[in-house]
Symmetry: C2
């Protein structure tokens, strides 16, 4: 085989042993110096650092975590619905920042709301011996999560409530946020309020729908099922559904509550297409970029993904750093309401 000229002089070839030899000290001493452990004479520290630098030594983190007592890899994993959606990516960023502060790296994956995919991701991550897991659970992997947790890996579930032993959660009060917003519409005089909801397999979606129902029962007002569509999962589907409701129901709604990002956008499109924006009120759950630039501006129940991510990271890092709380902790971060116009349209 021919010698390849400019190719890989020697990949990571220089090891601690080389450093030890050059510095004229033992292997153990090099390890102590590299890890900043106390009890090494100053001149030796100097010699080792010098040798390491001269040789271009690079510490191998994976090899070190193998023998290390705590077996830490300084890596956590983040399982999101889709790294590309705004909520997920804002959360991701918050987690990254929190992790960075402790020099911890973040692995990510998108489940696309499929339990099998989530399962596979979690499996791959734990195989890599991550120190902890932050998951937006699909709801179909509770057994796996419980097992992983029992084997020692800290887990924080985000956005969806799960009840598992020593698994922390961070959620927002979906029910109350929705209830308050729908109540606003009712107080404004709206009597027929349509509701578009996400898949009922998702805890969040169920909670929000409950909030819608509670708002109605709170004022003793029945809901008309013909104004409710659940299990909608895309902007297009929402656009279609709300269009249908507005044009076929004989006594059409004067307001719409869209229980998710994409559904809000789909609804907005439909209203505009029908020339009803400005006439039919709209409130969405979860803010989205440029919502303020639309006409009318879209009012939303807002949740703060940065705050959620930060909280999740805090809980996780707390456990990783030995805070072995026996019980699961459930943090709830508040929702807000952002009035931009569309939610303030009164009934005709």
């Amino acid at each position: 085989m021919a010698e390849i000229p400019g190719d890989e002089p020697r990949r990571g070839k220089v090891t601690m042993r080389d450093v030890a030899q050059r510095a004229g000290v033992g292997l153990a001493t090099v390890s102590r110096v590299i890890n900043g452990k106390p009890g090494v004479a100053a001149d030796l520290i100097e010699r080792v650092n010098e040798a390491a630098h001269a040789l271009g030594y690079r510490h191998d983190v994976t090899a070190s975590s193998l023998r290390r007592a705590d077996r830490r890899t300084a890596t956590i994993a983040l399982v999101l619905e889709d790294v590309a959606n705004p909520f997920s990516s804002a959360l991701h960023r918050a987690v990254e920042d929190a992790a960075r502060a402790e020099n911890i790296l973040v692995l990510t994956g998108s489940s696309d709301e499929h339990p099998e995919r989530e399962h596979e991701l979690i499996d791959n991550f734990t195989l890599r011996r991550v120190d902890g897991l932050i998951v937006v659970p699909t709801g179909g992997t509770d057994g796996q999560l419980a097992t992983v947790r029992r084997q020692g890996t800290p887990i924080v579930c985000v956005d969806r409530l799960v009840e598992l032993d020593r698994v922390d959660t961070v959620t927002v009060d979906n029910r109350e946020g929705t209830r308050a917003a729908v109540r606003r519409l009712l107080d404004l005089g709206h009597r027929r309020i349509a509701y578009l909801g996400d898949m009922r397999s998702i805890w969040t979606a169920r909670e929000r729908y409950e909030g819608y129902l509670e708002a109605h029962s709170g004022v003793g007002r029945p809901v008309d099922e013909r104004l409710v569509r659940l299990d909608i999962r895309s902007a297009d589907a929402a656009e279609h559904a709300i269009g249908e409701i507005l044009t076929t129901v004989d006594d059409p709604p004067t307001a719409v509550f869209a229980a998710q990002n994409l559904l809000t956008i789909g609804t907005f499109r439909a209203l505009e297409r029908l020339g009803l924006h400005g006439r039919v009120a709209l409130i969405g759950f979860d803010d989205f970029p440029l919502a303020d630039m639309l006409r009318p501006g879209v009012s939303v129940v807002s949740q703060d993904p940065t705050e959620i991510g930060l909280m999740a990271a805090r809980l996780l890092l707390g456990r990783i750093n030995g805070g072995d709380h026996r019980h699961a902790r459930h943090a709830v971060v508040p929702t807000g309401y952002i009035a931009r116009g569309s939610g303030e349209i009164p009934p005709p």
Copy 2:
């Protein structure tokens, strides 16, 4: 110290040796079976799998990559400007999908356009012995990238051109995309076209500005420097800058080219605030969500982050899988133009 009752029965305690013992075979055989290597009797394979399952054996990927000949960790790293911005996260998603197909996991980090931060990330990633690196380079880390590449780690740079030995790149033709769009405005009769640009330290920003200049010289039309603002880095700054140009220059522009996402949004805000949307033409570089929902719809030069990410992943995985191309490869994915109205406004 008290025995903690329900806590971590034994973390990952079961090893290949245990499996070997239970199956009554040698350690080497277990390894062969787990890795699906040929040349093991069928009944032994069966016995090993059975034992592994009964014991709940979990393969330790980090330990295996230590001794493994190719030293692969089945992990790649992705250094983005900010995982939370739409362009980056779409790219991220595309890379994730491509990597998933080969069971490779993705580590991510945000440089925030700071060379030091980028350097630090790359350092951490290579310490983890990732198999490859996809980077949106700030431009201040060429030396480091060259070193890392020389030591054997494949690298693909994305969105910005760099000229380094055996470092592949994926870019879009910023210059041509901008030139064509500005030319459109000129052909429409616009004679005074303002330009808002990002920081000139970024290759992309320089290229786009060149395109703007080329379009003008192409029709023998001088550019008025008072209509040009460079080194703008936020929507607010853009809003301010364009507002200033429109109100203080005596012969104000009839069209604006905003060379980046946020700048486009800032410009739109300013135009709306001044009541000039619908009267002053606007074209932005890079599409953004809901651009079609604004009034007027915002015309943009579009680039396809999914395509870019896919291409980058393909190049990287190609090299990881042994395709040792001696030369650097530079892929260029085409830009498009999406007409939505704002770019089609004629001069008064």
